[in-house]
Symmetry: C2
Subunit: 266 residues, 2 copies
C-alpha cells in the first residue's frame, strides 16, 4: 500500500479550522512546519503556538509535501492560483467547494474535510470527528486516509457529490438547529424568563441521538397529535408573526409525519 508520510506540513489560514486541525496534527505527532496567513499578527500567534515558522509569501511553500488550505470558501481558488507550481499535495477543508477548484495546481490535490463546527471558545475531541478525504489519485486518497486516521476514528473517502450532500445535512442539524436555539433564547428573553432554563434540554435532545434514532426520539404536542396544546401555543404567539409561521410549518410537518392527514393549515 502506498502510504506517503507527510514530514513537512504547511497550513494556510489561522482561523478556527487551522487552529483545531493544527492542534490535532501536533497531538498525533505530526509537525507543522509553517503557517501562512494574510493577517500577520494572527498568523504569527498561531505559528508560535505550533512551534512553526510564520511566512507571508506563498512562494516559500515549495519545499513542503502537504499544504492544507484552512481558509474561507471564497479564498480557495485565489490561493490555488498562487500555488500553481506547487509539488506538494494541496488539500482544502471545505464542505462545499469541489476538488476541481484546485485543478490549476495539477493532480496533486485533495480534500481534507473535518465534519464539525469549530469555535475558539470550545475545545473539541478530534478523535470523534468524522474526516472526509478525497483526492484525484488512489495513492493520494490512501495517504490522506492514513493521515486522517491518526487524528480520528471516523475517516471516510467521500467524493464531491457525497460531500456536498453531507454538507446539506450539516446545515440542517447545525445552522438550522442553532437558529431554533436563537429563536427560543429570544422568546424567553422577551418574556423575562432565563435562557438557562432550556440549556439542559438542548444538550439532552442532541445527546439522545447517540442512543435513539431521531424518528423514535420525537416527542411533543405535534408528535402526540395534541391539537389542543398546539392551538394554545399558537394563541400565545399570535402577535409574533415570524415565530407563528415557523411554529405552524414545523408542527404541520411533524403532524404529517406521525398523523398523516392531520394539519393546522387553514
Amino acid at each position: 500500500m502506498f502510504d506517503k508520510q507527510f514530514s513537512k506540513i504547511a497550513i494556510i489560514g489561522a482561523g478556527n479550522v487551522a487552529t483545531h486541525l493544527g492542534l490535532a496534527l501536533l497531538k498525533a505527532g505530526q509537525q507543522i512546519h509553517c503557517i501562512y496567513n494574510r493577517d500577520e499578527e494572527r498568523g504569527r500567534a498561531l505559528a508560535s503556538l505550533f512551534g512553526a515558522r510564520y511566512i507571508n509569501d506563498l512562494t516559500l511553500l515549495n519545499q513542503h509535501d502537504l499544504i492544507i488550505l484552512a481558509v474561507s470558501d471564497d479564498a480557495i481558488s485565489v490561493i490555488a492560483n498562487k500555488l500553481k507550481k506547487s509539488s506538494a499535495l494541496v488539500v482544502h477543508t471545505s464542505g462545499t467547494i469541489p476538488l476541481s477548484s484546485l485543478s490549476v495546481i495539477g493532480m496533486n490535490v485533495g480534500i481534507f474535510y473535518p465534519l464539525q463546527t469549530f469555535s475558539k471558545q470550545h475545545a473539541v475531541d478530534f478523535n470523534t470527528i468524522p474526516i472526509c478525504v478525497y483526492s484525484t489519485t488512489e495513492e493520494y486518497c490512501q495517504s490522506l486516509f492514513s493521515l486522517a486516521s491518526k487524528l480520528s476514528n471516523s475517516v471516510h473517502i467521500i467524493n464531491d457529490d457525497q460531500r456536498r450532500k453531507i454538507h446539506i445535512a450539516a446545515v440542517l442539524v447545525n445552522n438550522f438547529s442553532n437558529y431554533l436555539y436563537i429563536k427560543a433564547f429570544d422568546f424567553l428573553s422577551e418574556n423575562n424568563l432565563p435562557v438557562q432554563l432550556i440549556k439542559p434540554l438542548i444538550v439532552e435532545t442532541a445527546l439522545k441521538i447517540n442512543d435513539i434514532p431521531p424518528f423514535e426520539a420525537q416527542t411533543g404536542p405535534a408528535k402526540r397529535g395534541d391539537m389542543d396544546t398546539i392551538a394554545k401555543h399558537l394563541d400565545l404567539i399570535k402577535n409574533d408573526k415570524e415565530l407563528n409561521e415557523l411554529y405552524k410549518m414545523i408542527t404541520d410537518r411533524i403532524l404529517s409525519m406521525y398523523h398523516s392527514g392531520t394539519t393546522i393549515k387553514s
Copy 2:
C-alpha cells in the same frame, strides 16, 4: 419558613417521567410509598423498582402527603376528579396544563414540572434539570421548592403563564430540532451516506450553547451571506419539495437576521 417534609409520596403513572423523577426522589433520600398505574404490569414493575406498593384503586391514596401526577396531559383532569377528596398536596408534571385543572381537588394543588425530555434508553443527571414549581399558596410553593432543591440545583417558581411560554421554547429546541435531525438522517440515508457522519456535529452544536450564545455561535452559508452555496444546495435538493421549502424558509430567516435585506425568495 414553612417547609413541609413529605414522608408519604405517591406517584401516579409509570412512564418515563414517573420513572426518572421517582429515581431522583429515591436518590435524594425520599421514599416512594406507592405507585398507581392503569396498566398493572408496568405499575407493579415500577413499584418493585422503587420498593413501593402498587395500587390500582385511587381511593387508597388518602393517607399520603404528596401525590405526583406523572401522566399524560389528557389524563390529568380525569385523575383530578377522582382525587377530589384528597388531603394530600397533589401536583402534576405537565408543561402546558394550567394549575386550575387540579382545582376540583381544592387549594392543596401545585405544579412540579421537570424541564427535560425523558426516555427509557437514556439516563439523565437530574441535578442539572431545571424544575419549575408552583402552587396556590406560598407555603406549598416553598414546600415544593424545598423538595425540588433536593433533586436539582436549578429550581424556579414559575406561574402558569410563564410555564406555558417556557414550554413553547422547549418545543422549539427539542421537538423542532429533533425534526431537523430526522430530516438530515433521512436525507443522508436516501443518498446512501451513513448517519454516523453528522452525530458528532449534532452534539457539538448543542454543547456550544453552554459557552457561546447561539446568536454568536451561528455559522454556515446563510450566516455568511454565501448566496452561491445556498443556490448550489437548493439545486441539489430541487426535487425534494419538502426539504427545499424548509431550507428556503430557515435560510431566509438567518439571512435576514445577519444580512438585513438579503433574501432567496423570488
